[in-house]
């Protein structure tokens, strides 16, 4: 589960991690009002206005008009995802920048060309940056331990750093039995060539953020940039948190942090029925039980000359309601030109799945050819049921046969 930067900072602040003073804003009016009352009136002379979307690269991204797709201009310059306002009428400028941004689309290297609509922004006080660093904590699959990575190459594309100068990334593993220790913090601080007050500030910062990572059940916590101010203090200038989805039951308060506007509407709908659905750009819808087989089915669709319109795992128990809902969601994607159902009945009986499909098709209008491949327990009976249904199914035997029928369906 992803959350916004301002939400991550609120959580980190509560755990004692130093962040700058900031406030979320939900409209241009609010931007002007809050900038005036909560910043200007408090003597803050520089503010930073940041778009809140679930993607990175905002500072380098451009805001484009939702309709014309042209770059939005303000004060003679294109509006970016992050704007520093340090002179003139700050509240007025904050309002105008927000007006140019809300409801429009932010395009960054991570969003792809379609970009993401901006519905929330964040206004934060400015700070005097002496140097930018990189910090992240994440689960390392190989060792089964959490790993801390820091680098002097802050604010950069960290993947590029990892590729071209991996020696600039310092690492420390957290041993689960003894926890994160002070010597590890010192080791990282020495590695970054820190001294004096900055050294102490770093050690304190990293202990707090490691504790927060653990307590919040994160699977990724990334601070890029982590900044050293001219006052020699470390502050999280940005914050990205991914929660471990498996731990959500321990944190009922996270549900309110979810921003449904950031998710695909069909995926939101699917999650209501506990269906694992991911929308893709292709033309062949597929419905499969099990994630691995679902991915393999997507692969075979491509080998057959199509491209998958979605990933959809209906799970083990394929009852009528589940199948009907899955069908409805899959068919509401207008790009779907053919449908492939691939169910391997292990514990679940194929004849029951076949009956489920028949009943589901009574509830949902399907205009595309449907290729059904049921394999496993009672597969032969299931094929009989489908063939005798009077509905136009293309019944496939093997996975290979299913692929060939997909090719046929797309050609016809």
């Amino acid at each position: 589960m992803n959350i916004h930067e301002y939400q991550a900072k609120e959580l980190l602040k509560a755990e004692g991690v130093p962040v700058l003073y900031g406030r979320p804003i939900m409209s241009p009016d609010e931007a002007g009002r809050i900038a005036y009352h909560e910043f200007v009136m408090k003597g803050i002379s520089t503010v930073v206005l940041k778009c809140q979307i679930h993607a990175g690269g905002r500072g380098k991204g451009f805001v484009v008009d939702a309709e014309s797709r042209e770059k939005v201009m303000r004060y003679g310059k294109p509006v970016r995802g992050v704007t520093v306002i340090g002179d003139g009428n700050i509240a007025d400028k904050a309002f105008n920048y927000a007006l140019s941004t809300f409801g429009n689309v932010l395009v960054t290297v991570q969003t792809g060309e379609q970009g993401k609509t901006v519905n929330r922004m964040f206004i934060e006080q400015g700070c005097d940056i002496a140097k930018e660093y990189y910090l992240s904590i994440l689960l390392d699959r190989q060792t089964g331990k959490n790993l801390i990575m820091v680098s002097t190459e802050g604010g950069m594309d960290i993947e590029a750093v990892a590729e071209h100068s991996p020696e600039k990334i310092l690492k420390q593993y957290i041993d689960p039995t003894i926890g994160f220790r002070q010597y590890q913090a010192r080791s990282l601080a020495f590695g970054l060539s820190l001294q004096g007050k900055a050294f102490k500030s770093f050690c304190s910062f990293i202990e707090k953020i490691v504790a927060a990572y653990d307590k919040l059940d994160c699977s990724l916590l990334e601070v890029n940039p982590l900044v050293l101010t001219k006052q020699d203090e470390f502050i999280a200038l940005d914050a990205k948190i991914n929660f471990d989805d498996n731990s959500l039951f321990r944190h009922p308060n996270y549900a309110q942090l979810r921003d449904l506007a950031e998710e695909d509407p069909l995926e939101v709908e699917a999650s209501k029925y506990d269906l694992n659905y991911i929308k893709l750009d292709g033309n062949v819808g597929c419905m499969v039980n099990g994630a691995g087989l679902a991915m393999a089915t997507m692969d075979i669709i491509q080998l057959a000359g199509g491209s998958p319109a979605n990933f959809l795992d209906v799970g083990g128990g394929a009852n009528v309601d589940r199948i009907a809902n899955a069908f409805r969601i899959m068919m509401s994607d207008r790009n779907v030109k053919a449908v492939l159902i691939n169910i391997f009945g292990g514990i679940v009986r194929c004849d029951r799945v076949a009956n489920g499909i028949l009943q589901a098709l009574k509830q949902v209008e399907v205009n595309a050819p449907v290729i059904v491949r049921l394999e496993g327990t009672n597969a032969a009976e299931a094929q009989e049921i489908l063939r005798n249904s009077g509905l136009k199914f293309l019944v496939a035997g093997s996975l290979e046969d299913a692929a060939a029928k997909v090719t046929e369906a797309l050609a016809g």
């Binding site: 089964g144 059940d217 990334e222 039980n289 393999a296 391997f344 292990g346």
Partner: protein, 426 residues
């Protein structure tokens, strides 16, 4: 022969009285698995007989703790059906009781809990399979998991996979063309799992009865690459690989920084390249996994160096493979033919212990045509199983090399009869 589990495995079910535990215990008992005990805290002394449609073919004694169950029954494998919030605790309890093999089926265990479990495992004598996995099966001997038993057949192909239903698909392809399995291990798809590809491949490589290895991976992580490096260095048996998710969009599951520590690893293309580089036969299509194994066996028998092939669609070939295999005469090793449900005709014998270093018993199972299971019309959840005790146990014979050779020759013969005209070098 097999790895990790066999008919001597004495199975304990943690969470036996829950709905999942009950259903799958009834299925395992029907398969002939030697379930010796269950654990549900607070229900010690209960002779549990299942419930509803899932009644057991014999009652199983329930204990309060794993430790009590082990003392009373000498259980040496535990399978866990405990809900995610308590599953890590169940694994730790089994580790504390010195359980040699722990299989955790539970899906959705928090990573923080699994980090602690992994650390405890590293300092123990226990091996964990899973979590979030279908379990492990040695066809004809025992099924300790949730996989459908009837698609498996006794044979010589070791299967290791991160997936559930995709493994069933691959196993069925193998069985359909007459290639049975020595053992199939589902290692699970979670970020932290107890047993990795590389561990399973080591076991299969050391098992004299496993003649070929199939590894079915997925995008993400770097376990497949590490396994490939090991295969290149140490494995002499043909290895067939498949990676699911070539068409999956990048970045949907992996975090921004996730790609950094794995050094850019994790995509299907990189995994396939690493596998090919290691001499692993890569199936390009999930429909061709079984066929690729058959071809790999042929190729390796022909030339000492492994070649990478891309299996192509060839139904005629598939038929031929099937026919050829069914023509292979059965060898005789004196064991009486035993047939499980839907498994190929053939005898199988029982490994004396789960210990990987145990003396390897002699083999010589005849290759038989696969007899398709008849559909079970009634009581779908409980297909008829082998009656308890029907597995005939054999004493270990010491000089088994000759017998083993005959098996190897069979495989070679099967493979060499396969028409290779459609195989192309990738």
């Amino acid at each position: 022969m097999s790895v990790l589990v066999n008919s001597n495995s004495r199975v304990l079910v943690q969470g036996i009285t829950g709905s999942e535990g009950t259903f799958h215990t009834s299925q395992m008992l029907d398969y002939g698995t030697n379930v010796v005990a269950g654990v549900t805290p607070g229900k010690a002394g209960l002779m549990y007989e299942g419930k509803g449609d899932d009644s057991f073919n014999r009652p199983v004694l329930v204990f309060n703790t794993v430790s009590d169950a082990v003392k009373a029954t000498r259980a040496n494998v535990s399978i866990i059906f405990v809900p995610a919030s308590m599953a890590a605790d169940a694994i730790l309890e089994a580790i504390a009781a010195d359980m040699p093999l722990i299989i955790c089926i539970t899906e959705g265990i928090p990573a923080r809990d699994m980090i602690a479990v992994k650390s405890a495992l590293d300092n123990s004598n226990s091996r964990l399979i899973g979590p979030n996995c279908p379990g492990i099966i040695t066809p004809g001997e025992c099924k300790i998991g949730i996989m459908p038993g009837f698609i498996h057949a006794v044979g010589h192909v070791g299967v290791v996979s991160r997936s559930g239903t995709l493994t069933y698909e691959a196993v069925k392809q193998l069985t359909d063309i007459g290639l049975g399995q020595s053992t199939c291990i589902g290692i699970g798809g979670d970020p932290i799992v107890g047993t990795q590809f590389i561990d399973a491949i080591k076991l299969f490589n050391a098992d004299p009865d496993t003649k070929a290895i199939v590894m079915i991976g997925e995008i993400g992580g770097s376990a497949e690459e590490e396994a490939a490096a090991y295969v290149k260095e140490y494995v002499t048996k043909p290895v067939v690989g498949f990676i699911a998710g070539r068409t999956a969009p990048p970045g949907r599951r992996m975090g921004h920084a996730g790609a950094i520590i794995s050094g850019g690893k994790g995509t299907a293309a990189e995994k396939v390249a690493a596998m090919r580089e290691a001499g692993i036969f890569v199936a390009d299509s999930p429909a061709n996994i079984g066929l690729t194994v058959a071809k790999a066996l042929r190729l390796t028998s022909e030339t000492p160096t492994k070649k990478v092939i891309a299996a192509k669609k060839d139904t005629a070939l598939q038929t031929e493979v099937s026919e050829t295999i069914s023509e292979i005469p059965a060898t005789t090793d004196g064991s009486a033919p035993k047939r499980g449900r839907g498994r190929p005709k053939g005898s199988f014998k029982v490994k004396p212990a789960t210990d990987e270093t145990a003396p390897k018993r002699e083999r010589g199972r005849p290759k038989g045509s696969v007899k398709k299971k008849k559909a079970v019309k009634t009581g779908h959840k409980r297909p008829p199983g082998r009656p308890k005790g029907s597995v005939k146990k054999k004493k270990v014979k010491k000089n088994n090399k000759k017998q083993l050779m005959s098996v190897a020759e069979q495989v070679t013969t099967v493979a060499s009869n396969i028409d290779m005209t459609s195989a192309s070098n990738a």
